[in-house]
Amino acid sequence: MDATHLTDNHIKLKDLLLDVLLLTESEFSFALKRAECETWDSLAVVAIAAGVEEVFGYHFHPEEATSLASVADIIRILQSKGISFEA
């Protein structure tokens, strides 16, 4: 994703996932999938849920959290809850 199109929420989500998934900047992209990320394990599922609640105020249901397969999934769910990722 072009850096010029990143909203504040994109940046917050990226910063969160860098911390949770223990990634460097170069290892991260908004196209990242769980299957491609070794550190996106069951522990990370819990940490993502905790982090999203802190940063965006949305509490993932356990089924939602475990079903997340990509960064795009996270954005899609948050957008459906009224959290904007539009410029």
Binding site: L16, D19, L43, A44, V46, A47, A50, E54
Partner: protein
């Protein structure tokens, strides 16, 4: 389901081909109570044809017995007799092994001993500081379970009820701690732990190496880091306060206990080591399921905690 015996019940049980595993320090007391059982002081001495093994000791010895039973002799009935409360090893599905690379954690229902025996007299002569740290270890289990994102409402309710009982127990030897600790461990196993245990797991080996005569161990680390971590959690999330209100927990009384367990100088010494170990602490399995996300910059909170406490 695990059985609970007292010493009289242990003495009356037909154990078959059985032996005792205990430290040399316990040998006399164990021989007096169980004179017919052969004593061993190391798992390497145990045969694989035992029908029952009575393991008498602290968490380290009990975990060694649990690992031996699973790996060498699954058919052996394991009877765990803790000489100190806190770790909950006598009741937990977890066995921790210290290796040169760090702590390795094995988990599964097969690690739960068949029986736990409450023999409180074995804990009467424990030094006061060790007893206090054991109380802190117990508090860390139940508190981290209470706020764990993996806890069910039923577990949180049970944690609150247990903590209400624990508030009546002194921070030194008391017979009831053996049952309180086992119950706390069971609740922690049903949910999870968090950053307190992340600190404890990553700092124990380097602190013992750096300060071998200062009594560092898992229990002391849990006791010392419980207040700072719970304050960190509270600064980021209202959940602890909300759960306390929801389940009728006297949170001010709990904070008072954590203040008593906190050791400012020990914390400052530990933080000198923690600063260099922060990446490992942040990546620890327990840290990663802390109910508040532990981000890279969280170290700053802890670095300044001691000074803020002094000024409070």
């Amino acid at each position: 389901m695990q059985q609970r015996w007292n010493v009289a019940q242990l003495q009356q049980q037909p154990l078959g081909r059985a032996a005792v595993l205990c430290s040399p320090r316990m040998a006399a007391a164990v021989r007096a109570a169980l004179p017919d059982l052969t004593q061993h002081h190391a798992v390497a001495e145990l045969g694989s044809d035992l029908q029952a093994l009575v393991a008498v000791g602290g968490g380290t010895l009990l975990d060694a017995a649990k690992l031996w039973r699973v790996q060498q002799s699954p058919a052996t009935k394991l009877i765990a007799v803790p000489t100190l409360w806190g770790s909950g090893a006598e009741a937990s599905p977890v066995a921790v092994q210290s290796t040169p690379a760090g702590k390795e954690i094995a988990m599964g229902p097969e690690y739960v001993p068949d029986v736990r025996v409450v023999w409180p007299e074995l804990g009467e002569t424990v030094p006061e500081s060790v007893a206090r740290h054991a109380c802190g270890d117990t508090w860390s289990h139940v508190l981290e379970a209470f706020v764990s994102p993996l806890a069910s409402q039923e577990t949180r309710k049970a944690c609150a009820e247990l903590m209400t009982r624990m508030l009546c127990a002194p921070l030194h030897f008391a017979p009831e701690w053996f049952d309180l600790s086992a119950e706390a461990c069971g609740l922690q196993a049903a949910s999870g732990v968090g950053l307190v245990h992340g600190f404890a797991h990553q700092l124990e080996a380097p602190l013992v190496a750096a300060f071998p005569a200062q009594g560092w161990g898992h229990a002391r680390l849990c006791a010392v880091f419980l207040l700072p971590v719970m304050r960190f959690n509270q600064s980021h999330s209202p959940k602890l306060d909300n759960y306390a209100a929801q389940f009728g927990l006297d949170l001010p009384a709990v904070w008072a206990v954590l203040e008593q367990l906190f050791e400012p100088e020990a914390f400052a010494a530990a933080m000198q080591v923690a600063t260099a170990r922060w990446p490992a602490i942040a990546r620890d399995r327990c840290t990663r399921v802390n109910h508040v996300l532990v981000r890279a910059d969280a170290l700053g909170f802890f670095a300044g905690f001691g000074e803020r406490q002094e000024g409070a």
